[in-house]
Amino acid sequence: MPAAEPEPSAGPLPAGPLPAGPASDGIAVERVTKTYGSGPAASTALAGIDLEVPAGRWVTLIGPSGCGKSTLLRIVSGLLEPDSGSVSIFGRSPREASAGKQIAYVPQSPALLPWRTAVGNVRLPLQVNRRARPQDRQTPRGHDTARATALLEDVGLGDSLHKYPSELSGGMQQRVAIARAFALEAPVLVMDEPFSALDELTREGLRHQLLELWARHRATVLFVTHSVAEAVTLSDTVVVMSPHPGRVAGVVPVNLGRPRPEGIEDTPAFHETEAAIRLLLRGRQ
């Protein structure tokens, strides 16, 4: 009896339409290469990357500048084509997945529209490309606004719903960007160093807010960061990359259980995982 079958229109969707079979679950990256330029000036950004993000899991890419993590992220998001190799997102190509609005992409900067209020920015992904998903076409506009409002309240911006980005601090802008990504309710969430421009205190607060939201929506996440602590706090698995050419230096599982309370950063298990990642990061320099 298909008891777990969700009703199509009621409430927020679960973690997207998950096709059956382990082969098509989550994100699978196979032997992906990418070279920028040609001839003697060519630089290999990615030299044969294999990577797997099981459905509902959080995988973080970490590595020094030039290791190709942003390039890989753009390939997975369908913003860039690889030279060779393949990417599968729940059994589809990145282009197909983005055509179906299955990928929520969060760039480095908040990338908000300055002429739209916080609510307007969070609604944007629902307004764009409405043809792609039947649920977008059927929901009335008021529903978009209600969803955007609820998400902004979730990230603590209930007082700033109708403020313009220029009236918000950097951390608040980034929270709007995160709310925008979750508004899409896409099964895949791809984030490119979303906290890199923020100060350490703001970052720590945002990590836990992000985890709370994610616990509720359970998307499959591919995340990029420079910060080892951030990687450990957030992820199920940390993939360490090394530069010139970009390749995977090692994979560190994070065995910390969930949910992860604030203050988990001070536990011995946390420090051990951090140390393992640092070792891999240092090994290739």
């Binding site: 753009r74 998001s77 369908g78 913003l79 983005s98 055509a99 179906g100 609005k101 990928i103 929520a104 992409y105 760039p107 480095q108 900067s109 990338a111 908000l112 529209l113 300055p114 002429w115 739209r116 944007l124 992904p125 307004q127 764009v128 490309n129 792609a132 313009y164 980005p165 220029s166 899409l184 791809v190």
Partner: protein, 254 residues
């Protein structure tokens, strides 16, 4: 109401009084250099209808020319931003048009279109066209690349990107263009009136005729009208800009 404070308006008032004083001294020194400020003021006071009628005529020409030139430039820039072939075809022509002194074409336009409003509107539209086109093109390209990435990741089509991102991004540039083009449109109208001496209305015509009669007080009265026209138009565009671009941080400070 910060502009009610004397510290706000007093410096400008003092500067204005000084200007009138210097004008007066120069006029006393040589009456063919400048008319008496008083004589100029009484011109405006005694013949308000004359100046209003001519100012209206110039204003209408300027605004019609501005509308055609600005609107046309904007539409063409949108097409250029979407189809690079059109940009490669038209941009060199626009640059050539820009470096051509339009004043030189004005007499020919009179031959072609007569002494009516048409040649003046054309000159104005042509003068306004290039700054509007370039600003609009730059504005349409000014969209944040990361915002564009977000829209691409949602598979937004071209017209959605244009409507949701590129056009609003271009707005501040369009207003900057309008600030340049509004005074320029008055220049265009006046210059076109200069070369059509037979035409009956317009401040430019008034200036040519008064100069021919050495009636400097009338010349300067007309010039003051032009200045007021420019100031009013600029204030108008500033007010609209503040309204429309309320989301811009720099607009909200003062």
């Amino acid at each position: 109401m910060s502009w009610l404070r004397p510290s706000r308006w007093l410096p400008a008032l003092v500067a204005f009084a000084l200007l009138v004083l210097i004008w007066k001294l120069l006029a006393d020194h040589d009456r063919y250099l400048l008319p008496q400020p008083g004589a100029t003021a009484s011109q405006l006071w005694n013949y308000p209808g004359l100046y209003l009628r001519n100012a209206r005529s110039t204003l209408v020409e300027a605004l019609i020319g501005l509308g055609i030139g600005f609107g046309g430039a904007f539409l063409i820039s949108v097409v250029m931003s979407q189809i690079s072939l059109v940009e490669r075809a038209l941009l060199p022509l626009a640059v050539a048009l820009n470096v051509t002194p339009v004043v030189a074409v004005a007499p020919a336009l009179v031959v072609a279109f007569g002494f009516g409003r048409t040649p003046k509107v054309i000159v104005t539209a042509v003068i306004v066209f290039f700054p509007a086109l370039i600003n609009s093109l730059v504005g349409l390209r000014s969209a944040d690349p990361e915002v564009l990435d977000v829209l691409r990741s949602l598979n937004a089509n071209r017209s959605e990107v244009l409507w949701w991102v590129r056009l609003p991004s271009a707005l501040p540039y369009l207003f900057a263009a309008a600030r340049v083009c509004l005074p320029l449109s008055v220049v265009g109208a006046v210059v076109a009136e200069f070369v059509t001496p037979g035409s009956s209305a317009g401040l430019g015509t008034l200036i040519t005729e008064a100069s021919a009669n050495s009636a400097l007080d009338r010349v300067y009265a007309a010039i003051i009208c032009l200045a007021v026209l420019g100031v009013v138009l600029t204030i108008l565009i500033t007010v609209i800009e503040r309204r429309v671009l309320a989301w811009q941080p720099s607009r909200r400070r003062t």
